[in-house]
Amino acid sequence: MATTTPPPTPALLTTLTHALVALGDWSLFAARVFAGIVRGTFRGSELIRVSFEVGYASVGVIAMTGAFIGMVLAVQAYGQFHTLGLDTSLGAVIHMSIVRELGPVLAAVMLAGRVGSAMAAELATMRVTEQLDALTCLGVDPVKYLASPRVLACIILTPLLTVFADLLGLLGSTLICLQVYEIDSYHYWRHTREFVRVWDVATGLTKSVIFGGVLSLIACHRGFNSRAGAQGVGRAATEAFVLAFVAILLIDLFMAMLANAIYDLFWPPITPRIA
C-alpha cells in the first residue's frame, strides 16, 4: 500500500523562517533592553565599567584607524586629482567621505570587533557558567541588568568615538596633503568649508548612534543565546562580529538613501534650465 509523505520543506524556506524567527526574537530582546534603559534597572557602577571598556579602552584603535584611513585616502586620491589639476579639492572630497561614511562605518566596525565580540564572549561565558541563571534566582532580570548598560554605553560612546575617528582622519589626510604633497593650504581649507556641511556631520553622527545600538544589541543577544561549552562561547563572539558587520553595511546603505531623500525634500536640487 502506497503511503503519501509530505513534500520536504525547501531549504530556502527553512532558512528564511529561521531568519525571521531570529529577527523576532532579537526585536523582543531589544524591547526588554530599552525597557531596562528607561527604568534604569542596572547598577551605575556597571555602566561606568562598561563605558570605560567601550570608550577609553577603544580610543587607541579608533585613533589609529581614523588617522590611517585619512592618510591612505589622501595618498590614493592625490594621483587622479593632481592629473586633473584639482589638488586643492582633495580636502573637500576626503573630508566629506570621512565625515559621512568612513568615520562612522569604520568606528562602528572596529567597535563591533573589539567591544562587540568581547561582550558576546563575556555574556556567553556567564551563560555557560550559569551566572545568568544565578542572577534570575536572585531576583534580577539578567537582560535588563547586563545588556541595558552595555547598549546604553555603546549608544552614547559610539558617536563620541566617531567624532574622534573623524578628527584623526582629517588630521591624517591634511598631514599628507599639506606636508607631503605641499598643496596650498588656503584653497585646501576653503574648498573643505564649502563642501562639508553641518548636514553631513549630523547624518554621520546619527548613523553612529544607530550603529552603536545595533552592534551592542546583536552582541548581547548572541551572548545570551550562546550554546554550551567553549565552542559555544567562541561561536557567539564570531557571530556577534559577523552579524554586526553585515547589519552596519545594510543600515549604512539604508541611511544614506534616507538622508539623501530627506535632504532633497527640504533643499530640493536646482535643475539648470536650458533656454
Binding site: 565599567r49 556567564m126 550559569e130 541563571d133 534566582c137 536572585l138 531576583g139
Partner: protein, 267 residues
C-alpha cells in the same frame, strides 16, 4: 519531614528541540523534607531542579509551589517566589566581576529593606556559617578554590533566609574531605532552620548523609517497556541497595555491567 507538599510536579515533560529529556514526571516534595534526586548523567536531574524555580518551563504539565502553578504567576510574582528559594549551582556560579562580599550581599541589595550595616552583618554571619573567615570577603571568585567557591555559593543562597534550598551536584569535583565538609554544611543548614531541601547528586555519600528521601531518575533511553515513569525509585536512602529494580542496585554498586559499550546513550 511530612506535611503539605510545598513543591509539586504534575505530568511534567520537557523537550529541547527534538530531544525529550523528561516525560510525564509526577513528584511531590513535602515542606521541610530533604529529598535527594539521583541518576546518571543526562537523565534530566538539573532540568528538574531548574523547573522548580522557573528557570525552565515545562513543555507539558505544571509545576506548583505552595499550590500555585508557576506558569500562572506574573514575572513580578515569580521574582518574589525566587527570592524565597536558594540555589547552589554546580560550579557555584559566583559573579566574576564581584568580590565575595558583594556576591553574598547581592540578593540582599536586590531585595532591599536592609541598611548597609545590616547587610554587612548578614554577610559576615553567613560566611561564618559556611566556615569562612572575614578575610575572604575581599577576594575575587577567581582567587578561590573549588570548595571555597561552593561555600561562598551556599552563603549567597542562604543570605536571603530561603524556605527552600536547591543543591545542584553540590559535591561534584571536590576532594573527599571537602565533599564531607559540604555534606556537613547541608545537614547543618537543615538542622538550623526550617527548610525544604532538594539535592541533585550522583554522590551516594551525600545521599546517605543528608537525604531523608531519595528518588532515582533514569534517562529516557534506558526506560524499559513496562516502566510507567522515569522515576524508578522513591524511598529512603537505606533501601537503595536492596531496591527491586536492578538499575537502582547497579547505580548504587557503581558497576559497569552491560554498559561497557554505549550504543544508545544520550551522554
Amino acid at each position: 519531614m511530612t506535611g503539605e507538599p510545598i513543591i509539586q510536579l504534575r505530568g511534567v515533560s520537557v523537550r529541547f528541540g527534538q530531544q525529550e529529556v523528561l516525560t510525564r514526571i509526577d513528584l511531590s516534595i513535602a515542606a521541610q523534607e530533604t529529598l535527594a534526586v539521583i541518576g546518571e548523567s543526562g537523565c534530566g536531574k538539573t532540568v528538574l531542579l531548574k523547573l522548580i524555580v522557573g528557570l525552565l518551563q515545562p513543555t507539558e504539565g505544571e509545576v506548583y509551589f505552595e499550590g500555585a502553578s508557576l506558569q500562572s504567576l506574573s514575572e513580578r510574582e515569580l521574582t518574589r517566589l525566587r527570592l524565597r528559594v536558594g540555589f547552589l549551582f554546580q560550579q557555584a556560579a559566583l559573579f566574576d566581576s564581584l568580590n565575595v562580599f558583594d556576591n553574598v550581599a547581592f540578593g540582599l541589595r536586590v531585595k532591599g529593606g536592609l541598611s548597609e550595616a545590616e547587610i554587612a552583618q548578614r554577610v559576615r554571619d553567613r560566611l561564618q556559617e559556611v566556615g569562612l573567615s572575614e578575610s575572604v570577603q575581599a577576594k575575587m571568585p577567581a582567587e578561590l578554590s573549588g570548595g571555597m567557591r561552593k561555600r561562598v555559593g551556599l552563603a549567597r543562597a542562604l543570605a536571603l533566609d530561603p524556605e527552600v534550598m536547591l543543591y545542584d551536584e553540590p559535591t561534584t569535583g571536590l576532594d573527599p574531605i571537602m565533599t564531607d565538609v559540604i555534606n556537613e554544611l547541608i545537614v547543618r543548614t537543615r538542622l538550623s532552620r526550617p527548610i525544604t531541601s532538594v539535592i541533585v547528586t550522583h554522590e551516594l555519600r551525600t545521599v546517605r548523609k543528608c537525604a531523608q528521601r531519595v528518588v532515582m531518575l533514569v534517562p529516557r533511553v534506558r526506560l524499559m517497556p513496562n516502566d510507567e515513569s522515569q522515576l524508578i525509585y522513591d524511598g529512603p536512602a537505606a533501601g537503595l541497595a536492596t531496591a527491586a529494580d536492578p538499575r537502582v542496585r547497579q547505580f548504587v554498586e557503581g558497576s559497569a555491567g552491560e554498559r561497557i559499550t554505549e550504543s544508545n546513550s544520550t551522554d
